[in-house]
Every structure is written in C-alpha cells, then in structure tokens.
C-alpha cells in the first residue's frame, strides 16, 4: 500500500483525541449535589456492564472513524486486485481496423476479436479515466467509455493502412499530456510486420500492452500492382502490368496464381502469374475514352486485396506535324517515326495536329515548343510565345546538371538535364502549369494545348534521349500533354494527393469510364493536396465539365503481407517502452490496468467512516439498550 498524500497521515494523531476526551471526561466531571445517590448507585451497579461495553464500543467507533478519515485523506492505493477498481488512468486504445483486420481465421475476422477486447477494456474503465481511441484513420478520439463503445461497436475493416508506430507515438503523447499519474497504451492489432515504421522511442516509459489474435495469420495473395502500359492506349488495346504479392503459405510461395484482368467491365485477359513478378498481359479496351479496369485473384481469407483497380485512357493516335527539325537532333525525329510506325501517332497535317519543333504558333492549336539551338534566336521564340498568348518565356541558358522532378509524368522520373533554358513566367503572369522542374526552375510547362520544354531533346542538353523512356515520353508529349490531359494519378485510401489546378470534382467511374450512375460527386479544390477517397476504385477528374484525368485509389500493398511482428520486433520498434504482449483474452484482462497497478481506497474508506459514524450515533443514542 502506498499513499498519494502521505503528509495527511499526520491526521492519524487525531485518533488519540477520543481516548483523551474519554479519560478527561471520566476524571474531571463537574460535581453536583444529589440526595438520591443511593438510587443512582444502584442503577449504575445494575447497568455497569452494559455501560462499560457501550463506552468501549463508542471509544472504538470514534477512534475507527477518525482513523478512517485520516487514512482517506492520505489517499491510499493498493494493488488493483484488492480494490474495487483502479487508479485514474490515461488509456489510449489503438484499435487496428486497417484492411488486414478483415482477414478471416477460423470463421471470424481479426477485427471481431480486437473489437471485443476493446469493448471489455472500455467497460472496465472508470469515470476518472481519460480515454482515447485511435483507429485506422489515425484520428485520436477523446470520449467517455460509452461514446467510444459506440465507435468500437460500429468499427469495420477499412481499406486504409494504419501506421502502428505513428499511432503508438500519438498515444504516448496523449497519455503523457493527460496529467494523470498512470497511463497505458493498448495496441489491439493483428500486428502486421509491415504496419510498423522506423523504431521510435516516443513511447519510452509508457506501459504498452499489445494484444493480437492467438491464431496465426492466414496465408494471403494479393494484387499489389496493376497498371495500364502505356497509360494511354492509342490503338484500342494495350497491356496491363500486374504484380501479385502478399504472404502465401510457405509451401505455395512459388506457385503461380491465376489473374483475371477486366477492362471496361469486360474480361480482357487471364494469365498465371508468379508471385513477386510483374506480369504484362495484353488487353483490349471496349472503346475510346476513359476506362476503369480491375486485376483480380481467386478469393482468399482477405478479400479486400484480391482485386485492384486501374485506369486507362483510350484515344485515337495524335496527328503530329514535325516542324523544321534543324537543331532538334535525330532522336526526336526517330522517336516520332517509331511512334508513327507503331501506330501511336500519325504524321501529317490536318485539323487538330500537334506541331512539334519551332512552329509558327497558332492560337488554339496544339504545339510542343523547344528552346532554339542558337541562343541568338531566344528573343524570336519568346516573341512567338507572347504572340500566341503563352505566359512563359525562355531565360538565358544555364549549364548545370540537375534531375528532373515530374510527379505526374513517370516517364521523366530521374532523368538528368545538363543544359536548360529556365522557363520563367511572363511579367505579371502566374507560374501555372508547371509539369516538371530541373532544380528550382520550371523545365516543362503547359498552357492550354501548348507544351514548352526547357531543353532540346538532344544528349548535349539531357540524357533522356538515351534512355528507354524517351519514346514513351514523346508519346506522352503528343498524345496526352498536348491534348491538355492530366493523366492518371494513384493514391491509397485517405492518402493526401496533389490534384492538378482546375480540377473541381472527383466522380467514381463506371467500368466503361463514364461517371458511375448514382456515384457521389466529391467536390475538391484542385491545385493543392486532397485526401483520396476511402473506397478503392477509379475516380474521374472533372475540370470545367471535362474529364481531364483519373485518380486510381487502391489499397496499400503493405496491408497484404499479414506476417506478424515478433516480440523482439516490438522491443526493437519501441525502445524503452515496457511491453507486455498477450494473445489470450484472459491474459489481456489480467494485464489490463496493471500498469495503473493500484487502486485508490479513498472512497471506500470514507464510506466506511460514514457507516462507523452512523453506528456510533445509534450506540450513543442508546438504541442497543432500548432494544433490549
């Protein structure tokens, strides 16, 4: 037993007051003349035994009352098993209802087990506890036990990934900031190894009670990647790259699994895919426009990752006019020829043709503009841009090697730039439409259907022509960028994603690509980060009534690996935190609030003192004597 206010134990000295008063009263009573002493003596002789017992009982009751009050003031706490409850505790419950919690083992979802434990803990909490609940959305909910019970009861597996390291760190901060002397973090999770981040000492010193289902996690296969290759199909068909992952049973680790690809709601391809390898499967699109596709596996114990959406843009080949190519080098010309030969573009002139090179810019016409080979011509090109209304200008060339950063153009990822003409917005213009940067300078910008590059596609200025991504990039230039389209974005549920400027809404796409009938339009503000929808699928990006791109929301592939972190992993992940890892409900119940460890007896002592005083009053009033 310990005392939270040990100084109050000095009040125990007050327990001596009743005996002292008793002795004082007995020794020095006032004297009074009374002739009938003989009657009084006879009375006392007869009632002496009763009176002595009553006096002794009163004395004991008064000493007990004072002692109980003094002890209550000292706020004693005892081991919890001896008390009616536990000391006020700051409790942060991390309930992992991420995608993996939907895995079925023995006919029950992991989340059902975890939620049952959470409910038990909330019911075992006391009004003095501070309670938080953190779930897959990462939000720390503060509430009463009843409020959090409602939340837990309504919990379902979410397609999101829960970073358990971050959740535990958040819980530790909340527990520490609670101001309560005791705190616990309960991590109720299937304990995926992939759900943890880097080791974090944020929880050092805070008791961490980890509960996970006793049964081993089931083997799981998942489509961890699915992507149309290329993202824009110009011939009405293309390929879909599919990767199968997860954590299969060891005996079936290398077994190939059947994968079905559907595009636009129609089965497009089937193949046996080896786990861990990207299988490319030829597929056909039902028609031009945006199409939603899906790569799926046979169902297993975790259904949520057995299918993965992807999007594809089906367009007719762009009509490209190769303007005077002097100085553009042979690579661009060859690439255009290769694309034309592959049917990706058509070379020629006509309405809507994309002019590549140093064309005479025509207002409203699509064009791809490069810097001049001779810096002397820089002013002429800038005047052409100004005449066409393009608010970007070439600055004097810079000789410095930089890596291109183009989040929405995967074909440019990691490409090196050796020499560039930094693109600067015209005086008074907003720097809008930047698609790629080299260092701090805009390198690739778009204004309407005019695309301007900061370097010529020659090896002297960029290493891009020497890479395998060069031809696809040229295809993107003429087939997508010069058409004013944004391409396909990817995100996991709830992930923050930067939407292009001008996008005003997300619309769930039907398999054929059109907005899904009845699909809820999600208003968004393009040009900044937006949380991706929770439901996996393909969402069309709407800008001024036109579909300018697609957002593919798919589950985080890390959620498909159900292998569990070991006790040693936990110790390494949370250095300094006292960790108790249990897997049975009984062990969890026994360990619960043990971190608080003790229970305050103040309330019980005060109640006992009240009862003692009540009995003292009855005894003093002579109730026992009257009842005889």
């Amino acid at each position: 037993m310990i005392f939270l206010q040990p100084l109050a134990l000095a009040l125990l000295a007050a327990a001596l007051v009743p005996p002292l008063l008793h002795l004082f009263e007995r020794r020095r009573p006032p004297a009074a003349e009374f002739p009938a002493v003989r009657y009084l003596r006879a009375t006392e002789r007869e009632a002496q035994r009763t009176i002595r017992l009553q006096h002794l009982l009163l004395l004991l009751l008064r000493v007990a009352a004072v002692t109980l009050v003094a002890l209550a003031a000292a706020r004693p706490v005892v081991p919890a098993r001896l008390g009616a409850g536990h000391e006020p505790t700051a409790l942060a419950l991390v309930l992992d209802n991420s995608l993996s919690s939907g895995a079925v083992t023995g006919g029950a979802r992991a989340l059902d087990d975890l939620a049952a434990r959470a409910r038990e803990t909330l019911r075992a909490s006391r009004p003095g506890d501070a309670l938080w609940l953190i779930m897959a959305d990462g939000v720390a909910r503060r509430g009463t036990a009843a409020e959090l019970l409602d939340v837990v009861s309504a919990a379902t597996p979410q397609p999101r990934r829960l970073d358990l390291s971050a959740a535990v760190a958040t819980a530790a901060r909340l527990v520490r900031a609670s101001g309560l002397p005791r705190g616990e973090i309960h991590l109720l999770s299937d304990l995926q190894r992939t759900a943890f981040g880097a080791p974090d000492s944020a929880a050092a010193g805070v008791p961490l009670l980890v509960y996970h289902p006793a049964a081993d996690p089931p083997p799981n296969r998942a489509v961890v990647a699915a992507q149309a290759v290329p993202a824009t199909w110009t011939m009405g068909s293309g390929e879909v790259a599919v990767t199968v992952g997860g954590a299969p049973a060891p005996a079936a680790a290398d077994a190939r699994v059947p994968v079905t690809v559907s595009v636009g709601g129609r089965s497009a391809a089937r193949s046996l895919v080896s786990p861990g390898e990207a299988a490319v499967m030829a597929a056909a699109a039902p028609g031009p426009g945006w199409a939603a596709g899906e790569a799926s596996l046979e169902p297993d114990e975790l259904r949520a990752d057995d299918a993965r959406p992807f999007a594809v843009r089906v367009v007719p080949p762009a009509l490209v006019v190769a303007a005077p190519a002097t100085g553009l080098g042979p690579f661009l010309v060859e690439a255009l020829a290769a694309l034309a030969q592959a049917g990706q573009i058509r070379l020629g002139t006509g309405p809507g043709a994309v002019r590549v090179g140093w064309p005479a810019l025509v207002p409203g016409a699509a064009a791809v503009v490069f810097p001049p080979a001779d810096p002397v011509q820089l002013g002429s090109v800038n005047r052409d841009l100004a005449a066409a209304g393009v608010p970007w200008r070439f600055a004097p060339p810079v000789e410095r090697e930089d890596t291109l950063a183009a989040p929405r153009i995967p074909e440019l990822a990691g490409a090196r730039v050796l020499r560039r003409y930094p693109l600067r917005p015209a005086a008074g213009a907003e720097p809008a439409g930047v698609l790629a940067r080299a260092g701090d300078d805009a390198w690739l910008v778009r204004w309407g259907r005019v695309v301007v590059l900061g370097s010529r596609l020659v090896p002297d200025e960029t290493a891009l022509p020497l890479s395998s991504r060069f031809v696809p990039f040229v295809g993107v230039l003429v087939n997508r960028l010069a058409r004013g389209e944004e391409g396909i974005l990817a995100a996991t549920p709830g992930q923050s994603v930067a939407l292009p400027a001008g996008v005003t809404a997300l619309v769930p796409a039907a398999p054929a690509g059109a907005p899904a009938p009845g699909g809820a339009t999600l208003p968004v503000a393009g040009g900044g980060p937006v949380a991706a929808p929770d439901a996996p699928g393909v969402y069309l990006l709407l800008a001024a009534g036109d579909t300018v791109g697609a957002l593919v929301v798919a589950t985080d592939p890390r959620e498909s690996d159900l292998r569990r972190a070991s006790r040693a992993d936990l110790a390494a992940l949370f250095p300094g935190a006292p960790i108790e890892d249990v897997s049975s409900p009984a062990a969890y119940a026994a360990a619960r609030f043990r971190g608080a460890g003790r229970s305050e007896l103040t309330g019980g002592l005060l109640a006992a003192a009240l009862v003692v005083l009540l009995v003292e009053g009855l005894v003093a009033a002579g109730v026992p004597a009257r009842s005889r």
Partner: protein, 307 residues
C-alpha cells in the same frame, strides 16, 4: 401584583406549590390551601372517619359522589349528600423529616425544596386536623429529634405548630429509625401518625419502626416527598453526584442512565408502597410540583380506605 391578586382569588390548593409559596409564609399558605381544599370538600375531609351521620346538605360540585344519599335523590329528585358528626376526638402527630436531603431542589428557580413543601403540607394537615378539634402535635427529626410539640386541640395551637415549623431548617443526616423510636416513646396514646419524609433512609429499620407504631395501635400514614429531579434524572454529560448527607459520590452520565435510573426509582417507590401497605400503613408519594390540594386529597382518600 395583578397575578398575585388573581391567585388570591383562586383555589390555592390547586395551584403550583412554588407559585402559592410566593404569596407569603407557611401560615398564610397553609391557611389558603386549607380554605381552598375545604371549599371543595365543603367540610372536614376526615368526616366519615370514626363519626356518625348528622344531616343532609345539597350537593355541590367537588363533593364525593359516594356521600350522595340516593334514597333522598329518589324521593325528592334533588342531590343531597350525607354529613357526619364526630364521635371521638383524634390524637394526631405529624412526624417531619428535617434531614439535609430534604433541603434539596432539583430546580430552585421553579420548585420548592422538599423541606419547604413538607412544612407547608404539614401546616395544612395540622390546620385541617385542628379544625376538626383533633389534638395535633409535631415531631421533627434529622439524626435526632429536633423538636417535639405535644398534641393539643385548643385554639391557637396551630400557631404554635406553625412557629415550630418556621424555626426548623434542614439539618444533618437522617437517622429516622432512632428518631422514630423516640416518637414511639412520645406517642403513648393511640392516634394518627403522619410521617412526611423523602425516605432516603435505611428502609428496613424505618419499616421496623413504623410497623411497631402500627402494632401499638396507631394509624400511620407516610407522605413520600420527592423532587421531580429525583424521579427523572436531568442533564446530559457525566457528573459527580454527591449525597449531601453521607458525602458519598458516584460519577454517572444521565444520558446513559436516564432510563435505567427511572426504573430503579419506580422499583424503590413500589417497594415502599408494597411494604408499607402490607403492614397496614398508608403511603402517598408526592412530588414537590404536586399542588397541595392533590396531596391532601390523596391523603383523605387513603384515610377513608383505612377507616
């Protein structure tokens, strides 16, 4: 003064003894009480004791119904009571306890001491007896006989008795047994003996003396005078209670003993009553807040039973 006037017009025998005592000394109070008492009875309360029928008179409120002559009522349709004439003169002696314990009052502001109450009661009894031309004497004692006034029936003897009462004051301890032995020597002729005492004495020895008197042919009546504070233990906290006579003391808490003490007193009173009546001795308990008339009426009724 107005209240005193109002009291003087009332029957003093029915008023609070303390209030009555404020009107004057023993003589005045006793005379007033007896006047009131007799006006209620119309004539001597001792009529009916060793007397013969004399005449009828109309019934007045306060007359005892047992003296109604029902035959006359039947014949004349009016209420008449029978009156009796004395047959013999009585020789009465009032034996008054003047011990120190008699000088106690539980509430001096509101109640008479037992001694003051007893002297006024004795004076009233003597006046009634003398008005019947009964020879009346007085013996006062504490641990010895303090005064002894022989029984006389002549006019003016009441004032002698009153003067003797006025000269008395509660004194030492009670040795009633010795004093009563002396009384038996003084009372050679049979008569009425009225003992007025708080009976805080050795019970067996006093009983022996009283039974001896009875054996000698005396009519004996005992007025057991108690203060209400002796019947009901007052106060709350513990106190050291000291006997003024023996200086014995006991520490007790009224709050704890109140109920048991009351039972002890009731048992003691019952024991006195039982022991005295079994010996043919009249017993009347009066408390000092009892109107004198009630005490006299109780004594009268007892006399009637004894007679």
């Amino acid at each position: 003064m107005a209240s005193l006037l109002r009291m003087s017009e009332a029957r003093l025998d029915l008023l609070d003894p303390r209030d009555v005592s404020t009107l004057g000394g023993i003589e005045l109070v006793a005379a007033g009480v007896v006047e009131g008492f007799l006006s209620g009875l119309h004539r001597s309360p001792y009529r009916g004791f060793s007397v013969e029928f004399a005449e009828h008179r109309p019934y007045q409120p306060g007359d005892e119904l047992r003296y109604l002559d029902w035959k006359v009522v039947g014949r004349r349709d009016r209420l008449y009571v029978k009156q009796f004439e004395e047959e013999t003169n009585l020789r009465a002696t009032i034996v008054l306890d003047a011990s120190r314990s008699m000088g106690w009052s539980g509430d001096p502001e509101r109640r008479l001491t037992k001694f003051d109450y007893a002297t006024r009661l004795a004076a009233a009894l003597a006046l009634i007896l003398l008005r019947q031309r009964d020879a009346t004497g007085l013996i006062a004692f504490d641990d010895a006989v303090r005064c002894a006034v022989p029984a006389r029936a002549r006019a003016g003897h009441w004032r002698v008795l009153v003067r003797a009462l006025l000269d008395l004051a509660p004194g030492g301890g009670t040795a009633a047994e010795g004093a009563l032995t002396r009384v038996t020597d003084l009372l050679r002729r049979r008569g009425l003996v009225i003992l007025v005492s708080d009976l805080l004495v050795e019970r067996d020895l006093v009983l022996l003396a009283l039974r001896y008197l009875r054996h000698r042919g005396h009519q004996v009546t005992v007025f057991h005078v108690m203060d209400p504070g002796e019947v009901q233990l007052d106060g709350a906290g513990p106190a050291r209670y000291v006997d003024p006579e023996s200086q014995e003391s006991v520490v007790a808490s009224p709050r704890e003993l109140r109920r048991e003490y009351r039972a002890t007193v009731e048992r003691a009173v019952a024991a006195w009553r039982r022991a005295l009546r079994s010996g043919g001795i009249g017993y009347h308990r009066v408390t000092t807040d009892t109107p004198f008339g009630h005490a006299l009426r109780a004594a009268t009724a007892g006399r009637a039973r004894l007679g």
